[in-house]
């Protein structure tokens, strides 16, 4: 995609996940739309690490809705896109792809076998040398050095991975699908309009965490909790919230939709609880 800042970009949906697959979109989301998302992709060799994460980026449903409502993005059903692309292929192309895949598998198998053989050979070689050393220390080196043994055979070339780029579908004209969002959306939108960066607050036992600027530069200010305006909740939750915020130097923010005016706009009010520590 050449210029994503002007054109709406696709959000791929699958199983109620909202994914961004284009890396060029991410900085724009962050700078222009104050949308953080979070990275899902990890390193194939060390799948359990979570220090280096990459594409795809997952958006919260709230974030996706905000983008769609602003006309910055549109939803795309990943499954359908893939199906359409596959249908569009001719028989020959399909054959070709299958052939390539098979070839890659074979190559991979051969490479593994060779590596295993190599390891085995090295082991026996080392064992032979050790035995020789034990038998007569002074004569050990004559037949042993690596020069005589055949050098490691060249690694077979790794098969070339062919990338099949599924072209991003064109934005649908007319009405677009809108993500389903939880009840906490109005508060999310309210704080987002107040130029806060919001991310999921599960770590802090809240709905969201609000940052006054880019999280790379600022600590968060609030643990955001959304409630119905007349919802009853236990007083003990305020104690917990106050302590929770105090412990990590945040305010514990509580908010909800007070009323909805004629034009359908939600009037949100928010309150902040801080641990007094008298």
């Amino acid at each position: 995609m050449s210029d994503c800042s002007t054109t709406p970009f696709p959000i791929h949906t699958s199983d109620n996940r909202y994914l961004i697959l284009d890396i060029n979109v991410i900085p724009i989301l962050r700078e222009k739309y104050r949308i953080l998302g979070h990275m899902l992709g990890t390193l194939p060799q060390i799948p359990q690490q979570n220090v280096f994460l990459g594409l795809p980026m997952q958006l919260l449903p709230e974030e996706a809705k905000l983008l769609v409502d602003q006309g910055a993005a549109y939803l795309v059903d990943s499954k359908e896109v893939y199906r359409d692309w596959y249908k569009s292929l001719g028989e020959e192309e399909k054959e070709k792809i299958l052939e390539e895949r098979k070839h890659a598998e074979v190559m991979d198998g051969e490479r593994r076998k060779q590596e295993a053989d190599e390891r085995k050979r090295k082991f026996w070689e080392k064992k032979r040398l050790d035995d020789l050393k034990k038998q007569g220390g002074e004569t050990s080196l004559e037949g042993g050095s690596g020069s005589e043994t055949p050098t490691v055979s060249e690694r077979p070339e790794t098969p070339i991975q062919t990338e099949y780029v599924v072209a991003a579908p064109k934005p649908p004209s007319g009405s677009t699908e809108v993500p389903n969002v939880p009840e906490t959306y109005p508060l999310f939108k309210y704080l987002h309009e107040k130029e806060y960066y919001l991310s999921s607050g599960l770590r802090f036992g809240a709905n969201y965490v609000a940052y006054p600027g880019d999280p790379a530069r600022f600590h968060s200010h609030f643990c955001v909790n959304s409630k119905q305006f007349d919802e009853e909740f236990s007083m003990i939750d305020i104690v917990g919230g106050g302590r929770l915020g105090g412990g990590v130097k945040k305010g514990w923010l509580l908010g909800g939709v007070e009323n909805t005016d004629e034009s359908g706009k939600d009037n949100v009010r928010a309150f902040c609880v801080e641990w007094g520590g008298f």
Binding site: G205, A206, I236, D237, G240, G241, R243, L244, G247
Partner: protein, 414 residues
């Protein structure tokens, strides 16, 4: 948190005033003797029995059948139920003292935990010396003051060091020097202000030990028992008599149960209007309270950490609480999956438990180094309660504990 005050070492600056020699630690009272009874009951062990010694057999039989003293306190401790605070108030000195010393029941209404208002007031009025019978509130306050002074001193030393360097490098203009001097004076004045306002200087207030004043005043404090504590003492142990606030007549456990369960709701239910429910907050939490008390734990309210109970190994004076208990009613009985009303009740209760709530209490409790225990209480069906006595009702509850710990893949790799 206040509970972990590992003081960081003073910076190496020579300007820091040498640390005053630490005041002699006031001797702690011997808590082992004061709190030797785990519960307000007296246990008289029977003498050792030697079968071939007729004297021993006679002694044994005598003490077995004619026990010298009652295991219950005589007369029973008395408290009055207070509907406004939904608690039981204990005002007579013997009951207050014994209930705190033997099992750590209740809380002083003017104190953090142990009723210490009298001691603190006596000290303020000069009836007792500055370091006599220090209460836990005073110890905490002193520690915080020390810490505050230490921090102010450290900040001052660091600033002086910085100014010294600047002066040596000639970067401090005359104006700045003036400003710095001014600032210093201000801060000195401010810190003196803080010291005198926040911390009444005890040495000036308290007269010398010889010149003690003798002011007579009444103890304004009473002990508050939570509903669970009062019910345990009255129904579980039989050591406490709870009086009706109006008639001043003692209430039996069968009368207390409907009263207490009505007051476990906010606002309290009208008595006699709604029938007893199997998942009444009081019934469920009393089942848990009784469970842990019978296992020997000292159970105190956990409201300050947003949980239901805190479990102390021997008592709050001996160690910090190890566990934080959160009660979750579990609707396992077939009634809650088959009948319409049962399913609705189950869903209503489970709606309140969200993941973020669990994360929140776990975070709050791990900040203060407590392990969260989720206690599932299996709730019986409503029809099981009909026509049962208090003891039979309590037998219907089953308690299961699940310990919870925050697990981080990066920190727990061992």
């Amino acid at each position: 948190m206040a509970e972990s005050t590992a003081e960081t070492p003073v910076s190496t600056s020579p300007k820091v005033a040498p640390q005053q020699p630490r005041k002699q630690q006031t001797k702690k009272p011997n808590y082992g003797i004061i709190h030797k009874d785990p519960l307000p009951l007296t246990i008289t062990p029977t003498p050792e029995l030697t079968l071939h010694n007729p004297l021993s057999v006679a002694h044994f039989l005598y003490s077995y059948f004619f026990a010298a003293n009652n295991s219950h306190p005589v007369p029973l401790y008395t408290g009055t139920f207070n509907p406004l605070t939904s608690s039981v108030h204990i005002t007579d000195e013997r009951s207050v003292n014994d209930l705190w010393c033997r099992g750590f029941f209740g809380k002083g209404n003017l104190s953090r935990s142990e009723p210490t208002w009298l001691i603190r007031t006596q000290r303020r009025l000069g009836v007792i010396g500055a370091d006599e019978n220090l209460t836990s509130e005073e110890i905490t306050e002193r520690r915080r003051n020390e810490r505050r002074e230490f921090k102010a001193e450290r900040a001052r030393a660091e600033r002086e060091k910085l100014e010294e360097i600047l002066a040596r490098e000639g970067k401090l203009t005359r104006e700045q020097q003036m400003l710095a001097a001014q600032l210093e004076e201000d801060s000195k004045a401010a810190s003196e202000d803080v010291d005198t306002s926040a911390v009444p200087d005890l040495s000036t207030l308290v007269a010398e030990p010889e010149a003690r004043t003798n002011i007579e005043f009444e103890n304004q404090e009473h002990l508050q028992l939570s509903l669970e504590e009062a019910f345990f003492l009255s129904f579980g142990l039989g050591s406490l008599q709870v009086l009706d606030p109006d008639t001043k007549k003692p209430l039996s456990p069968a009368q207390l149960l409907p009263l207490f369960r009505a007051h476990s709701y906010c606002p309290p239910l009208l008595q006699g209007v709604d029938p007893l429910q199997p998942d009444d907050p009081f019934l469920v939490s009393y089942a848990v309270y009784h469970h842990f008390r019978s296992l020997g734990w000292v159970v105190k309210s956990g409201i300050k950490f947003s949980v239901d109970f805190l479990l102390y190994n021997r008592g709050p004076v001996f160690s910090h609480a190890e566990f934080a208990v959160k009660i979750l009613p579990a609707y396992e009985h077939p009634y809650y999956s088959s009948s319409h009303a049962g399913v609705a009740r189950k869903q209503r209760a489970e709606k309140e438990r969200t993941w973020s709530w669990l994360h929140a209490i776990n975070r709050v409790c791990s900040q203060v180094k407590k392990t969260v225990i989720l206690v599932y209480v299996e709730v019986p069906a409503p029809e099981q309660l009909e026509g049962k006595t208090v003891g039979e009702i309590m037998k219907l509850f089953r308690v299961k504990e699940v310990s919870l710990r925050r697990w981080l893949p990066t920190r727990n790799r061992d």
